[in-house]
């Protein structure tokens, strides 16, 4: 019996695994969670709806934009707030840039886990830095944005944003092709990823897995297509899926998703209409009594918020449907039979963020 974590350079946050080993082979694995639990769902109950938005930033801290978006959609459903068109386009632009930044980080760290050390990681982080600079232009923050609010977004895209994103969209696809050239036929990556950590399709569906982890197992389910929000149905893009559900498929799906995000970004920027960036919403929103559930396709999967209102200034209950938490459900089955070194790669391929797992 070997304990892995909670502090471990390769467990992507404070994930603890209790492994039963026979030599290097994993016979059983039990994830032990809660090291980053900070009672966010309890905090929601004593904060006003607007104050809840920055709390959501810290749930999946590598994709704050989609956290803000999911809770805003739920509050808008509950309080029947209509969002202006320009705000919807800005939301799509923010979400897709966020997806790129998050996937850059996820791919970089995964390749690092496979033993490529930091070179590809730093290349991906360099790309992510460009996106973080753009987010800083838009809302002043690099990681926790508090940008997408109930009713729209907190401020309009500033003039300096457009040349920056234009330049990024011109140059990034070429660099992405370059990275693809280096990584795709790399025999070490292939050897460490093919048939490793297989998640069979039926288990994936029963375990409630979502996002690239689900699509890697061959299920073509993406909320942006199946249940579009913020006008995603207007844009033309594909949803990549895998076949085997191994680490390679999840890696390839995320990689291809980056190309698809670039497509959506170009279309959204081109069609961005003039107008208001936010509806008139009071600072203290008091939605009528009732409940609402809204979800978005975050870089990690289906992120949903179930909000119950008692008519007051705070939610009575606000539950986060956290994809990273739920995606860990079949982890044991994915690890058994593999070596300890593979455990690191398999966890990396599920792209979990402990803030979302533990909340």
């Amino acid at each position: 019996m070997v304990n892995m974590g909670p502090q471990h350079p390769s467990t992507h946050g404070v994930l603890r695994l209790r492994l039963v080993l026979d030599g290097e082979t994993i016979l059983d694995a039990e994830p032990i969670l809660g090291y980053l639990h900070s009672s966010k769902e309890k905090l929601f109950e004593t904060h006003t709806y607007l104050q809840c938005v920055p709390v959501t930033d810290r749930i999946d801290y590598l994709a704050s934009m989609t956290n803000n978006l999911a809770i805003s959609l739920a509050i808008e459903k509950l309080a029947e707030i209509e969002v202006p068109e320009r705000a919807n386009y800005i939301r799509v632009i923010s979400s897709e840039l966020q997806r790129l930044a998050s996937h850059c980080f996820a791919q970089g760290t995964l390749i690092n886990d496979m033993g490529a050390w930091h070179t590809p990681l730093i290349y991906f982080i360099k790309e992510r830095e460009l996106i973080l600079d753009m987010f800083e232009m838009v809302c002043g923050a690099r990681l926790t944005y508090n940008y997408i609010r109930p009713g729209g977004v907190s401020q309009d895209l500033p003039p300096e944003f457009f040349p920056a994103v234009g330049k990024f969209l011109e140059e990034f696809p070429g660099r992405l092709d370059e990275y693809r050239g280096m990584l795709w036929e790399n025999e070490i990556i292939r050897a460490r990823a093919t048939n490793v950590g297989v998640l069979p399709r039926d288990l994936a569906i029963s375990a409630g897995v979502s996002g690239p982890t689900l699509r890697g197992s061959g299920v073509a389910w993406d909320l942006r297509k199946q249940d579009p929000y913020c006008g995603y149905e207007r844009f033309s893009f594909d949803v990549p899926t895998g076949t085997t559900g191994d680490v390679w498929d999840r890696f390839a799906v995320r990689f291809q998703e980056m190309y698809e995000s670039i497509k959506i970004l170009s279309q959204a920027l081109e069609a961005l209409p003039p107008g208001r960036f936010k509806a008139d919403v009071p600072i203290v929103i008091r939605p009528p009594e009732g409940e609402a559930y809204a979800q978005v396709e975050s870089p990690r999967g289906m992120l949903g918020f179930y909000v119950v209102s008692d008519g007051g200034a705070s939610p009575w209950r606000c539950h986060v449907r956290a994809p990273s938490f739920i995606n860990l459900t079949p982890l044991r089955e994915m690890l058994i039979g593999h070596k300890v070194a593979d455990a690191v790669v398999i966890i990396g391929s599920t792209d979990i963020v402990m803030g979302e797992v533990d909340r």
Binding site: L33, H37, G208, Y306, T329
Partner: protein, 159 residues
Amino acid sequence: MTRALSGEELATAVSPEAVIAVEAGAVFVLPENVAEVCLALRDRQGFDYLLSVTAVDYLDYFDVVYHLLSLSKNESAVLKARLSGRDGLSLPSVVPVWKTADFQEREIYDLLGISFDGHPNLKRIMMWEGFPGHPLRKDFLEFDHRTFAGSGSEGVERG
């Protein structure tokens, strides 16, 4: 778009003896029937995917809320079960129906104190073994963050 089944539609999909109340967007079933109803919804109505299972503390009772999804039909539904009182609450686990309930039911047990009969591994998941109480309950007092009148469960006694 995902089509959300209304309470009425879901009530016809579930066997009539099991439904005790119908809301606009959800159906209430007796807690002891939850596992059978879910099995029927999965096998006969195509709800192959459990999006989320959670619970809400309403002071005099708790509601366990199931958000269901059919990947094949692109439909969603909400199922609820009401447990009266605050102590010794339990209902059947739906882990045999959808494996995803494993961690989510453990979270409800840990944070809200509701037990799930038949759960393969019912133990705390966020808090440590031996933690006193169930933190997400309304009577679990913590630092009062309220900055606004009317924010935060005004009817509940706070420390």
